[in-house]
Structure formats: structure tokens, C-alpha cells
């Protein structure tokens, strides 16, 4: 029997790893998740068989509650609240690891345990608790129960240091005494670890939460792997290590996608809720969402209709050939690409025409103002390539604006607007563009040619 279970475990592990592999690409991700689920199911079934149903009633109760709560919440929650949901579930995992250690500790109470067990027990308790508490704070921040702003206070570093030292001291004590330290010792240890989790996440801004959650996810992975040593379970070791390692890679990738080093995210005490605040053209702060070429690439590749809106920035960057290459790449995937040409885009009449003709863009893909404004509301993405004034909604609705009354391209009516420019600087008219703050807009900063080339490469790689 046990041999069968062992072999089933191997299958489970293979399925989980393969599932993770498939999760790498949008095309296979769903299948990958199913594989991982299958592997998990086999592994859990194996455990139930192995425990021969001892205590199945209480286990059943626990599983039932957990499954119902977990699935119900997962299905009910709004799409936008997904990140905090992930945080919560991660916290649950960390909490479970810490609880397992706690139970084991009290079961063994008094009798001394071997070094492997004592070390792994105390480590999994600490890391699990940190992950648990940290995840809850992350949840509260994202759910806006707590302010998304970084919470800092004087002497913060010192307090953190003290807590960390306390934990280390207690942990060493625990190992040295082979787990036979007085009862309060363990309790204090746990509380200190929980506190550390809270303190760790508090100073981090809401915008950076996804990176933090990913890091806590990999912490939980590590905790679970260590729990594996504690319980002598290769299953836990492997799954935990898998998550610990892949989570680390992911965390780094995520912070890189935000164009920030990880250390900056974690210890920068910097970054605010939902978007980056940058100085707008007028000097006043504008809160915009900076995005990455990879993200935009997915958006473009899975769109039905994309409208390119070229402006003077495309001309300055001489990006016309790159723009055509991107359009070709998208059209190859069945995406419909059109170009909206504003009458005064650029710096001379017909500026965009000259450049796009040079790049061999067929005339029938060029829309003039009226046609473009008919098409834009049905577009999935409006990709604004170095245009600014000609997309400024202030011309429509701010009578005091110097450009009020100029007909503009209604890019804000598209499902998504991505703006390619180098900075928040203004265009010819020298005014701020409220477009950039709209919820459906995001900015891809950088030279237009470089950005468009990056998009082409990213679309190709999908």
C-alpha cells in the first residue's frame, strides 16, 4: 500500500511541476493549473489513505470549512480584488505551517527532540508566522481597510532590529534546549514573529503590495519545505522548495517589471496606492499607471481591434518603421490594426502621412479624425505613440484650456489606452493631459522607437 502511495506521490510531484511549467505561457496556463490541481489531489488522497482515516471526522470538518470558505470567496470576489485574495490564501498557508509546528511542539512538550526537528520546527513556526501576519497586513492595505500609504515612524529601524534579535535569541534558545524551554518562550517567539510580519509590511506602499505578496508567497513556500523536514515528508519539501524558488524568481521578475530593484520595493518605504504619482506637465502631481512592454504586448496580442495614434513623438523617434513592424506582427495574429491620423499631429501638415507612407503603411488603414472617432469606441486598445495634444480631452471639456474647441481623437473612449512617451512632459501646447490619469489609461515610458520595438519583440514571444 505504502509503496503505491509513494509512487502516487511521485506522479503527483511530476504533475505539479509540469503544471507549473505550463503556467509559463498564456496559451497553456489553464491546462497547467489543472495539472497542478490533479497532482495536489493525488497527493492529498495519498495522505488520507496513509493516515488510515484516523481522526477523519475532525479533518473532514476542517477541510470542508476551508474548502467552502476558500472556493466561495474565490468565486465571489471582484476581479480587481484578486491580489488581496491571493494574499489572504497565502497567509492561510503560512498560518497552517506555524500551527503545525505549534502542535508538534506541544505534543513533544518536555521531551527533547532531535536537532533536525527542533531546527525545522522553530524555523517553520517563525517564517510561517511572519508570512501569516504580513499577508494579513497586505490584505488590509489592498482592501483599503488600512491606508495604502507607507506607514513610517521614527525609530522604526531600531524597533525592527529589537524584534528580530528577540526572535533570533529565542530560536537559538529553543534549539539549544532541544525544544524544552519554558512554555512562555515559545509563545513569545510566535508573537514576536507575528509582530515582525506586521512591521515588515507596514512601511510598504499599496502599489508595491503585489511584489510583497509574491515575496511572502515564497516565504510560505520555504516554511512548508521546512515543515517537510519536521514531518519527514518529501512531498512537503519538494512542493515547498518549488514555491520558495519559483516565488523568488517571480518576485524579482515582478519588481523588475515595475522598473524598481527589489530592495527599493521592500525597504524604500515609498510608493502609494494604485499608481505612481509623478510630476505632471504643469508641475502639479499626476497619478498615472506606468506599465511594461510585456503587459502591453499581451493586451495588444489578445485584442480584436487596435488603433495606433501616432504623433510628433513618433516622428522625433523616427519610429515609423518599427510601428509598421508591430502592426505586421499584430495582423499576423489576426488583430485588426488601424491608424488614427489627427489633422495637426506632428509639426507640419501631413507629417504623419509622410512618415507612415515611408514605412509602407497602406493608405486604407489610415483613418481621419471623423472615422477614427467612430472606430475608437469599439477598439480594445488605443496605442498612442508620441502624441499628446491631439488626444487631450481637455479640448472637449475644459473651456478654459488653450486648446478648448480643437477637435481631438477620443482615445479615452477605447477600452484601454496605452501612451508611449518618454516622460510626463507636455506637447506643443505646453499643457497637462488629463487623459493620463483616466482609469483605462496607462503609460509606457521610453523613446517611442525603443518602446515599439520592445512591444514587437514581446508580442512575438507570446
Amino acid at each position: 500500500m505504502n509503496v503505491a502511495i509513494d509512487l502516487a506521490n511521485l506522479v503527483a510531484i511530476a504533475l505539479i511541476i509540469y503544471g507549473l511549467h505550463e503556467l509559463n505561457s498564456p496559451a497553456t496556463a489553464r491546462r497547467g493549473n489543472r495539472f497542478a490541481m490533479g497532482g495536489m489531489a493525488i497527493a492529498l488522497a495519498g495522505i488520507l489513505i496513509r493516515t488510515q482515516g484516523i481522526g477523519w471526522q475532525v479533518v473532514a470538518i476542517g477541510v470542508a470549512i476551508g474548502a467552502i470558505v476558500g472556493i466561495y470567496a474565490a468565486l465571489k470576489v471582484k476581479m480587481t480584488a484578486m491580489p488581496q485574495m491571493v494574499a489572504l490564501y497565502n497567509g492561510a498557508g503560512g498560518g497552517a505551517a506555524a500551527l503545525i509546528s505549534t502542535v508538534e511542539h506541544y505534543v513533544a512538550h518536555g521531551s527533547s527532540m532531535n536537532d533536525v526537528i527542533s531546527v525545522s520546527l522553530v524555523l517553520s513556526a517563525i517564517i510561517g508566522s511572519v508570512s501569516f501576519a504580513g499577508s494579513i497586513i497586505a490584505f488590509l492595505k489592498l482592501q483599503e481597510v488600512m491606508t495604502g500609504r507607507p506607514l513610517t515612524y521614527p525609530g522604526q529601524q531600531f524597533v525592527n532590529g529589537v524584534v528580530l534579535l528577540a526572535i533570533l535569541g529565542l530560536a537559538v534558545w529553543f534549539v539549544v534546549t532541544s525544544g524544552t524551554l519554558p512554555a512562555w518562550g515559545y509563545v513569545v517567539l510566535l508573537l514576536a514573529a507575528l509582530l515582525l510580519g506586521v512591521l515588515f509590511v507596514l512601511p510598504i506602499g499599496g502599489a508595491d503590495m503585489p511584489v510583497v505578496i509574491s515575496l511572502l508567497n515564497s516565504f510560505t513556500g520555504v516554511a512548508v519545505a521546512i515543515t517537510g523536514f519536521e514531518l519527514d515528508s518529501t512531498l512537503l519539501i519538494i512542493c515547498g522548495a518549488l514555491v520558495g524558488a519559483s516565488g523568488t524568481i517571480l518576485t524579482v521578475a515582478m519588481s523588475r517589471a515595475m522598473n524598481r530593484p527589489l530592495t527599493n520595493v521592500l525597504f524604500g518605504a515609498f510608493g502609494a496606492a494604485g499608481g505612481t504619482v509623478v510630476a505632471g506637465a504643469g508641475g502639479a502631481p499626476q497619478q498615472v499607471r506606468a506599465t511594461s512592454a510585456d503587459d502591453v504586448a499581451v493586451m495588444l496580442a489578445y485584442a480584436n481591434k487596435v488603433i495606433f495614434v501616432p504623433g510628433y513623438g513618433m516622428a522625433v523617434a523616427q519610429a515609423q518603421h518599427s510601428v509598421k513592424a508591430l502592426a505586421d506582427q499584430l495582423e499576423k495574429r489576426g488583430v485588426k490594426v488601424l491608424y488614427a491620423i489627427h489633422p495637426v499631429a506632428g509639426r507640419m501638415p501631413g507629417h504623419m502621412n509622410v512618415l507612415l507612407a515611408e514605412a509602407n503603411v497602406p493608405y486604407d488603414e489610415l483613418l481621419d479624425l471623423e472615422d477614427a472617432n467612430t472606430e475608437l469606441p469599439t477598439a480594445d486598445v488605443a496605442l498612442v505613440i508620441g502624441a499628446n495634444d491631439v488626444t487631450n480631452p481637455a479640448a472637449r471639456n475644459v473651456p478654459s484650456s488653450p486648446i478648448y474647441g480643437m477637435p481631438i481623437l477620443d482615445v479615452d473612449k477605447a477600452k484601454n489606452v496605452v501612451v508611449l512617451k518618454r516622460s510626463m512632459r507636455s506637447g506643443f501646447a505646453g499643457i497637462e493631459n488629463p487623459l493620463y490619469e483616466l482609469p483605462n489609461a496607462s503609460m509606457l515610458f521610453g523613446d517611442a522607437k525603443a518602446s515599439v520595438d520592445a512591444l514587437t519583440a514581446a508580442v512575438k514571444a507570446l
Binding site: 523616427q318 507640419m348 507629417h351
Partner: protein, 357 residues
Amino acid sequence: MALVPETVARFVKSGLAVAVERGAGSEATFADELYTQAGATTAGDAAALLRDAGVIVTVGRPSDAMLADVRAGSIVVGFLNPLGDPEYLKRLAAAGVTALAMELIPRITRAQSMDALSSQSNISGYKAALLAAAALPKFFPMLTTAAGTIPPAKVLVLGAGVAGLQAIATARRLGAVVSGYDVRAVVKEQVESLGAHFLEFDLGSDAEGAGGYAKELTAEQQERQRAWMVEQIGANDVVITTALVPGRKAPVLISEAAVAAMKPGSVIVDLAAEAGGNCALTVADQTTVSPNGVTIVGTTNLPATMPADASRLYSRNVYALLSPWIKDGTLAIDMDDEVAKGAVVTHDGKVLIGGNA
């Protein structure tokens, strides 16, 4: 032709009655029938038409003879050359008309669609490059052929405003190696945004003035500029000049010495000919050949050589200008409008110029 049938139809739709002089559109390929189809009446008697009209739209300016027929209180729209000929304005005022000078429409964002200077300059720039290519005894593009490699022509565009930029774009399309030059510093990026090279020359100060136009250079700056040009010009096969300073004689950029420095067969197209020319040897409305064999084209009204598109663009500009003032079938200029403040040069018998120009 100041109004094309398409625009006439739009005016008619907004309730105005439009009359067109018979045969006026034929030059621009618009036959009289097209106008009647668009809802206009046509008549042969210009004087009668003028007497009836509340709004008179022309391209150039009505002659003094015509002004005699114009009703007092009517509106005249056209290129009136108000800065060049202040005397004429007095006559307009005397005739009692409200005159709108297309060249004085302010360069504000909202008025871009009314900006006939831009739309006509655009044509001039395009056509200047074509004329230069046609006049040059060589190819513009580089061609490697069995009979040897033909090097590309070198084209220099002086003054990169609307016309200059379009000339750059057109010459580049034809395959020439193009450089541009202007006194305004912002232009460098614009020239480069067309893939051309910008010639840098340090004037000591930026010459950008009001409304995006250039200021006049000091005498010393002009002298230095001309000397520098003598060095630069010999490397080029074609020079297209478009440098203008509103209300002034065009700056002379190409001295006789500079022309002498050019190779025989080279071509200069001087779009500033009407304002005195950017080249010392330019004769307005004539194509001359310098002693050393440089062809100098002193054409003054290039848009007239592309009448169909020139008329189309001009009439859209006029429509954009006038349509906001049409209410319930009548046109009443809102004199508080920023555009009117700039463009109205005579009103109620008074010359208003100086207000915004």
C-alpha cells in the same frame, strides 16, 4: 477659387444663399454645374453679384474697381496683405466693409483649421521641391545602374516653417540628401523628425518671436549668416528658400557670392520671391540663370499651380472661419472672438490693425 462646391453645399445647408461667378471654378477643375448642384446660383455679372452679396470670399484681394461695387456693411474675406499694403486697408475701411485678412488669423490651436497661410504654404513647399527636381539636370535619388552609379542630389532648405518642412519631406521622398536650416531653435528637432539633417549655425540668440514666427535678425547676425551660407552652399545641388519674417522684407540669405559658389546646373527655388526674395539674384515671377549657370526660380504663387487642392484647402479654411458665426441662416461676426480680434482689419469704417498683429 475661394470656395469649392463641397464647401458651398455646407454653407447652403447652414442656410446661407451662395452665388458664384460663372466660370470662376473652371481653372480649379470645378465646373459651373457642380456649383449649381451644390445649391449655388451662378451669374455672369460680377458687379451685380458684388452689389447683392453680404459676404464676399476671394483668394487674393478685391480690386479697387470691385470695391466700388461692394455694399457698405458687407464682409470681405481673403488674403488682403494688410501688413504689406496699409493704404489698401484705408480704402477697405472707406468702402465700409468688415474685412477679414486670412493671413492674420492668430496661430492658436483652435484656429488651426482656419489657417490658410499654413494650408497654402504646404502646397508651396511640396511644389517647390517638385520644381527643383524638374529643373535640376540631374537625378534627385541615388541610382546604381549598369551605366554607373548616380550620386544623390543634395538639397538644402532654408527656413523650415510649414513650406520648408513640406519641401524637406518631398525632396526626401524623391531620394535626395536633404538638410534644413532655420533661425528658430525648435526647428532642429522638427527637421530631424522628417529624417533630414539640420545645419547648425550659432546666431547667439534664438530668433523665435510671437505666434511661432521668426523675429528679424540684427544686421550683424544677417551678415554672419550670409557669410556662413557662402561656405555651405557649394556642396548643394538644390537650395529651396522659404525664410520669411511677417511684415518685413524677406531676409537675404544667399548673396551673389553664395550663388557664385554653386556648381553650374544647380537650382535655387526662392519661395520668398514675393517678399523680395531670400536670394539676392531672385527676380519675382521669373526663372533666371546666373552667370555661372545656376537656375534661380523666383516663383511667387505656387498654390495657383495646384488649383484643385489649393482651392479645396482654402475654402475649408474659410468655412472653418465663418461657420461658427452663422446662426439661423445669417452670419454675424462675434467681434469678441479671439480669432475675429486678430483677423478683422477694418470694421465700421475704421482700420483696426495693430490690435493683434
